[in-house]
């Protein structure tokens, strides 16, 4: 990975701690700092270039990182995103998505002077946090990319077996309906309505 990042390791960990209470990001940051390089994972992209695929994996993992439960890329989310963009999106949506993805990479390069996929976790987090806020606060028509990406990430994650049944609660055959029970008896969001 690139060595000319602008903040050092110590600073990165400190900033992560400020943002998240120091709990969940540290192992991941250390992983990156120890020289791991994000790869597209166990899938051969068909639409995305290798760089785009690495960006998709890295961004999905910033949105849903590894902590008590697996990261998005560990549950096949990057491949899912590509499948949706290739098979479900219309031609116009697909072009918008790719344009948005490239602009995201460019903006990161401009701001942080690095490739997103090779960036420090803290930089990636800050940048993504900002992009998310911008997308939510702006007219969604102006920036369709980020929320589309986030939606696909969540959709792929929570319709996966682990996402649905371990991070959320899934019951294939509930057998009965109870309209009012203590939340603790369920313990998580239902994966399906």
């Amino acid at each position: 990975m690139s060595t000319d990042n602008k903040i050092d390791r110590k600073e990165a960990i400190k900033r992560a701690g400020l943002l998240l209470g120091g709990v969940v990001f540290a192992p991941n940051i250390l992983g990156v700092l120890n020289g791991c390089t994000a790869t597209p994972g166990d899938w051969t992209p068909t639409l995305f270039s290798n760089d785009q695929a690495r960006l998709v994996s890295a961004l999905a993992d910033v949105i849903l990182p590894a902590d008590d439960s697996p990261a998005a890329s560990e549950l096949g989310v990057p491949k899912f995103i590509e499948t949706m963009v290739v098979e479900v999106y219309s031609d116009v949506q697909q072009a918008e998505f790719l344009e948005g993805l490239n602009k995201f990479a460019d903006d990161y390069r401009t701001d942080i002077e690095a490739e997103f996929a090779d960036g420090f976790d803290i930089d990636k987090y800050d940048f993504t946090y900002f992009q998310n806020r911008l997308a939510i606060e702006e007219d969604p028509a102006r920036n369709p990319f980020f929320l589309s990406f986030k939606e696909l990430t969540l959709l792929g994650y929570f319709t996966s077996e682990v996402g649905a049944s371990e991070v959320l609660r899934y019951q294939a055959v509930p057998g009965s309906y109870e309209g009012c029970i203590p939340y603790e008896d369920v313990g998580n969001t239902w994966a399906t309505d």
Binding site: F25, V62, V88, K150, L154, T159, V167, I181, Y183, T189
Partner: protein, 565 residues
């Protein structure tokens, strides 16, 4: 000659039923149980209960693309997709491809349908409500359309008859505008729905009840109870809801009197000028394209409102140049649906320590309360609401500021309780709302293409003001926050409750069918699907089709035995 007679004998039955959906299944069951040797024709493929429900038990991760179909495939379903919910990877096999089954729209008309054994009884919404005495009297009181040739008392025993077999869960309320069915135990309301029920009762004296639906809350007639998966429209492996496949067709088959012939597109009813009756039907084999004739003493058209009406319009003879039984000129006219997609949403603050178990396959129902005793609105008739409360799921995370582990933590607990409901309003019959056959265009089976010119009119649009504002007012009274209203009528057809194009009536000059669903001028042809409806009421109509079908089939069997048909 000899051979022909033999062929004719082999193709001759006591009765023919055209269609296997909700009404056709009932006609088949009642006719066969009366000992009639019955041919049941279905234009689409066979669907056997359980074994032909390929997606019924798939988990979310077993469906590609999170249950969405590819863009390439969407081209085939451009009209079927207008509902927004019909075409999924898990359900697409139940709906026709518009590219195979074209129709014409002078104005947008959403004709949403599936061609296979069981028809839309597999995918229906299962909401089951009786029409009331008031509904059967409405047309004559208001001077709209024609009078129903029957009253509630005529139909009530047949509602009971079909309910006892089908299994309808619900709560008895004793309301005159929404008579009780023969109920299985009701499903439960959840906490927030109970709050709305209380508030509506206290603030407005209005009633909220659990949806009355054809899902079993206990084992019933050999079918298993609902397991609360809420995957009904994939087909239920437990038989937990009423469909022709799970219920009426097995009963008909068990008599030994049913011959089921899939892939049989009925082209026309054959009219015999000598006897003044129908002698049979012409069938185009969907696969081979060959034409066959089948004969019977009595014919039931249950091909759905549009399907049965199209068959009649296409059944031309010297006696009926404008379609079988169309002396009145009303055949194809007076198309109705329900108008809906108008109501409100809101957020309930609190009860965040409460949740629910299971996926209930129904919502709540608010029976009609407008114009019950005289008319005090600027429109006639009324509407009911269907809705539900639930806690927000992971989807809300998309628009949250959180990302990372914070986002995961956030969405792994449910969000606030939200409430939403849409009204379903009555649409009046109007002669100008019609369908017809365009002989300049034919489909790949040589059938003329069906064309529609149907629109909502003034009474519907005036009613929608109340439908929207009342919803917001009731939510405000309950103290909801973030109340938003919506009003998007879409187009007629979207309710998938097409009705009225071969209406019942007392006068052969203004209606197509009599009080027994018989074609006025061709007494051995019965039409008991939605096309018979003289008015629409605001209730979901399928239960009424069941009752009319059972009643007419028993009447027909009786008349045959007496030699009167």
């Amino acid at each position: 000659m000899n051979l022909n007679i033999k062929a004719q004998d082999a193709n001759t039955y006591d009765a023919i039923v055209v269609g296997t959906g909700i009404s056709g299944g009932w006609s088949a069951k009642e006719l066969t149980e009366n000992g009639l040797n019955t041919l049941v024709l279905e234009r689409g493929r066979d669907v056997k209960h359980v074994e032909d429900y390929p997606t019924a038990t798939l988990d979310p991760w077993e469906l590609p693309r999170a249950n969405q179909i590819p863009a390439e495939e969407r081209k085939h379903y451009q009209k079927q997709m207008r509902t927004g919910f019909t075409i999924r990877e898990s359900t697409k096999h139940w709906w026709i491809k518009d590219t195979d089954q074209p129709y014409e729209e002078k104005k947008r008309f959403d004709w949403i349908r599936g061609y296979h054994v069981g028809g839309r009884s597999i995918m229906w919404g299962r909401q089951s409500y009786r029409l009331s005495p008031m509904d059967f009297e409405a047309n004559t009181k208001d001077g709209v359309g024609v009078d129903w040739p029957v009253r509630y008392e005529d139909i009530a025993p047949w509602y009971s008859h079909v309910e006892k077999f089908a299994g309808i869960s619900g709560e008895a309320l004793g309301l005159p505008q929404l008579p009780d069915s023969e109920f299985l135990p009701p499903m439960n309301l959840n906490c927030v729905e109970k709050e709305l029920r209380k508030s509506m009762n206290e603030e407005f004296g209005r009633v909220l009840t659990i949806g009355r639906n054809a899902n079993l809350t206990q084992p019933h007639n050999g079918r298993g109870k609902c397991m609360y998966r809420n995957l009904c429209s994939r087909g239920c492996p437990y038989g937990g809801y009423f469909s022709s496949n799970a219920s009426t067709l097995p009963a008909a088959a068990a008599t030994g009197n049913m011959t089921l012939r899939p892939h049989s597109i009925v082209n026309a009813v054959i009219y015999d000028e000598e006897t003044g009756k129908a002698s049979g039907v012409q069938v185009v084999d969907e696969q081979s394209g060959e034409m066959y004739e089948y004969y019977a003493r009595v014919i039931f058209l249950n091909a759905s409102t549009v399907g049965s009406t199209a068959i009649m319009l296409n059944s031309k003879s010297d006696r009926f140049p404008n379609g079988l039984g169309n002396d009145s000129g009303e055949l194809g006219h007076n198309m109705m649906d329900h108008h809906f997609r108008v109501g409100a949403n809101g957020v309930y603050e609190g009860m965040e320590d409460q949740y629910y178990w299971g996926r209930r396959p129904t919502g709540f129902y608010i029976p009609r309360y407008r114009n019950l005793n005289g008319n005090d609105r600027n429109y006639i008739r009324g509407f009911g609401y269907q809705g539900g409360a639930s806690r927000e799921g992971w989807e809300r995370g998309v628009r949250e500021l959180a990302i990372g582990s914070e986002l995961k933590n956030l969405v792994s607990a449910p969000g606030k309780w939200t409430l939403g409901m849409t009204a379903f309003g009555e649409m009046l019959p109007d002669h100008s709302n019609r369908m017809w056959l365009n002989y300049d265009e034919t489909d790949k089976w040589g059938q003329p293409v069906i064309a529609f010119d149907v629109e909502f009119k003034e009474n519907e649009y005036k009613m929608r003001e109340d439908m929207k504002n009342d919803a917001a007012e009731m939510f405000e009274a309950m103290g909801l926050s973030n109340i938003t209203t919506f009003d998007d009528p879409g187009a007629p057809g979207l309710g998938i409750h097409e009705m009225g194009t071969a209406r019942m009536g007392r006068d052969p000059n203004t209606s197509v069918l009599n009080g027994w669903n018989q074609v006025h001028s061709v007494p051995n042809v019965f039409v008991t699907d939605g096309s018979c409806m003289t008015s629409a009421a605001c209730q979901n109509p399928s239960l009424t089709y069941m009752a009319f079908s059972a009643r007419a089939a028993n009447y027909a069997a009786e008349q045959l035995k007496k030699g009167d048909l």
